[in-house]
């Protein structure tokens, strides 16, 4: 098998990632995210009518409450059909009495239904959730850097965290570009991805650390060392990402609607996590090490003069 010089081609990997991340970031700022009610606040009513209804039918009922600009979606087996028994209505944050009134008139004009799900989130709750999740995430990153710096060295810590930031940016980009809904389970998915990404990166770093001990005796160069370490752990990297992808794919294809977006985020995240450990984290470490060596060489030159 012809082995690719992964470290030598590192500029290409950085470029490939940027090709996804830059449009993603632009999209995040221009179109933003399709935020669920967990973040925006609002009310969701998910109903299964006895007889199929159309979006227009539902909108007409909502009009009497001036809620006709709400999102109405048909769901179920045949979501592309014009009528369906399953209807999901998303409105602004409704008071208890208003919601009851709306639901009563839906029953009056469109027949009886089964309530699948009802959610109401106050708007202040949403932003609090976001800020809290952000702090928790940043704190977990800090701890990761500290732990890796303690067990390995600071440059490994920074490279690992940059790799996980890379994974998160890609998942955020995909969700913004595809306008997939972001809710609190998405936050949980991001955390999972962070966990996986770091775990995966550490295994390779651990091998680099191990090889590094022998390295200077052998007098090899750093690029070669990192490449060797990546290839030595490659089987494991592939097997492990395969096993987590099995379970996640099963959740995506066979799990319920509630877990679909969650599983989707995990699928992208795990794939990125495995990719970034090999193509981003290790090359970044080599880059940082290169900088440090260049700096040291310069200092030496300066003292020599």
């Amino acid at each position: 098998m012809q082995k690719i010089d992964i470290i030598g081609k590192r500029k290409w990997w950085y470029i490939i990632s940027l090709v996804i991340i830059i449009p993603g970031i632009i999209c995040m700022f221009t179109r933003g995210f399709n935020l669920g009610i967990d973040f925006t606040g609002g009310t969701i009513i998910d109903l299964r009518f006895d007889k199929p209804v159309s979006i227009m039918d539902v909108r007409d009922v909502l009009k009497t409450y001036k809620l006709d600009n709400s999102t109405i979606q048909l769901a179920g087996e045949d979501s592309s059909a014009a009528v369906s028994q399953n209807v999901m209505i998303r409105t602004v944050d409704l008071e208890e009495n208003d919601r009851k009134a709306v639901m009563a008139s839906l029953k009056d004009s469109l027949g009886t239904y089964n309530v699948l799900r009802e959610e109401k989130v106050g708007s202040t709750m949403g932003s609090e959730l976001m800020i809290q999740a952000l702090w928790a995430t940043l704190l977990s990153w800090l701890l990761i850097v500290l732990y890796i710096s303690y067990r390995f060295e600071f440059r490994f810590g920074i490279a690992a965290v940059l790799a996980l930031v890379h994974d998160i940016l890609i998942v955020l980009s995909v969700f913004s570009l595809m306008q997939k809904q972001v809710d609190s389970s998405f936050v949980a998915a991001l955390m999972t991805i962070v966990g996986y990404s770091v775990n995966d990166t550490i295994v390779i770093f651990d091998r680099i650390r191990e090889n590094l001990k022998l390295h200077f005796r052998k007098g090899g160069n750093i690029d070669e060392l990192a490449n060797t370490s990546i290839y030595q752990t490659l089987t494991r990297s592939i097997y492990t990402v395969c096993t987590v992808l099995f379970t996640t794919l099963a959740l995506y294809y066979f799990g319920g609607d509630t877990t679909k977006d969650f599983a989707f985020a995990l699928l992208i995240g795990f794939t990125c996590g495995a990719y970034s450990s090999i193509f981003i984290a290790s090359p970044l470490w080599v880059t940082f090490r290169g900088w440090a060596e260049a700096k040291r060489a310069k200092q030496k030159e300066a003292t020599a003069k």
Binding site: L143, R236, Y239, F246, L251, T258
Partner: protein, 414 residues
């Protein structure tokens, strides 16, 4: 020695398989399921400051007590009432049939007042001893009140001073009933008329019995998952879970042969222990929690993969099978420790700083990772030792390792 090892291995394997197949389903079903899996209503209440009453610790403790009373009055199995942060209370009502009623009852201040004609408040809810919904002979819905000793005196005083005049009974500043007083009532009993339905009367009775909230409480979040959807998610996640685990088990056997089988057996031990721990801790299993389990199983498998890959590598260096396994294990352990520690750290942060969804996920992931570290270093190692000690097979391919000569040949080709 060889036979001894083989018997030990057989006993361990059979014991784990036996315990797994016997306990997995009763154990899995006995763990409390979250509302997203079994259906029910989740309500978040928040106390707010008003000019009349500021929120403080004492008030919050009283609010929790009263909310507990109200929830108990609803007669549900296993409701959960929890403080969150300074001003919030989470109420979880599994399997509730009429969520609207519950939501309404929970958030009401329920301040009862008795006023004379001039509008002076003479007595309030604290003077009550009991309240019950009733239907009288003329089919009217009533709430009958029984006053405390002090309340009876006050009420007798109020009625005797207001004969021929109107008094009013108000709930949260709204007039419930305003009867004309015909004579002084000294028996310590009264009725509130005017409820449209018996249910309304029952709700009112619940509110009066549980007392009024000392501060204003807003409902800021409600989530109801109907029983149909809950059952649906549960069935689907169970199926997905079975498929996922099945694939992993098959994968391990295909790629690592006999050691893979050993890993599968220790994976079974791992799943049983994780469920047992969750049960002991009385944790609630939600959908994100299931996801945490999936990831932690991934980590547990990863630990095994690391051990086996190191083993194969050592074997390629020309060590014996047994020595390779020992050396592989030793080297893999450092990696497993570091990768698991970071995950444990991250889930600890999520557990302490996260809420709701995030917390449920952090619990299963954190516990799962700790357990994974444990099973890899105990069960897997022990069984592998026995397996190699038994020395049943001499052919390295049974252990998923290619013999050193093969490697040499491969290298020659390169």
């Amino acid at each position: 020695m060889r036979k001894d090892n083989f018997i030990k291995l057989l006993v361990v394997v059979l014991a784990i398989i036996g315990i797994f197949s016997f306990y997995i389903s009763p154990l899995a079903y006995s763990i409390r399921q979250g509302l997203d899996l079994q259906g029910g209503t989740h309500v978040v209440l928040e106390a707010v400051d008003t000019p009349e009453a500021k929120v403080n610790e004492d008030a919050m403790q009283r609010v929790v007590k009263i909310i507990e009373k109200r929830v108990n009055e609803l007669g549900l199995t296993e409701p959960v009432i929890q403080r969150e942060g300074e001003k919030r209370i989470i109420v979880e009502l599994p399997g509730i049939k009429d969520p609207d009623k519950a939501i309404q009852v929970l958030g009401k201040t329920a301040m009862l007042e008795f006023q004379d004609e001039a509008g002076n408040t003479v007595m309030n809810g604290t003077d009550l001893k009991d309240a019950q919904a009733q239907i009288d002979q003329s089919n009217q819905n009533l709430v009958s009140l029984e006053f405390s000793a002090e309340g009876s005196e006050k009420f007798a005083d109020l009625t005797s001073k207001n004969i021929g005049k109107k008094i009013a009974i108000l709930l949260d500043k709204e007039v419930l009933t305003a009867p004309n007083v015909k004579e002084a009532i000294t028996g310590g009993k009264a009725v509130i008329t005017g409820s449209r339905t018996l249910e309304e009367a029952q709700n009112l009775a619940i509110l009066l019995r549980s007392g009024s909230l000392p501060v204003k409480v807003n409902i800021i979040e409600t989530r109801t998952v109907g029983p149909t959807l809950g059952q649906d998610s549960k069935d689907k996640s169970e199926f997905a879970f079975a498929i996922g685990i099945g694939a992993v088990i098959l994968f391990m056997v295909l790629f690592y042969r006999l050691p893979g089988l050993v890993a599968d057996i220790s994976l079974m031990a791992y799943v049983i222990m994780l469920l047992f721990l969750l049960k002991m801790l009385d944790a609630t299993l939600t959908l994100p929690g299931v996801a945490g389990i999936i990831l932690s199983i991934g980590m547990a498998v990863d630990a095994n993969v690391l051990i086996f890959e190191h083993f194969k590598e050592e074997y390629r260096f020309g060590k014996t099978l047994r020595m390779s396994m020992d050396a592989g294990f030793k080297r893999a352990f450092m990696t497993i420790l570091d990768s698991h520690m970071t995950t444990i750290l991250a889930s600890a942060v999520l557990f302490f700083f996260g809420t709701g969804t995030v917390k449920g996920f952090a619990i299963t992931l954190g516990l799962g990772t700790v357990l994974s570290l444990f099973t890899a270093t105990t069960f897997t190692q022990y069984m592998l030792k026995l397996l190699f000690g038994a020395n049943l097979f001499k052919n390295p391919t049974i252990y998923g390792a290619s013999s050193p000569t093969e490697v040499v040949n491969n290298n020659a080709k390169n």
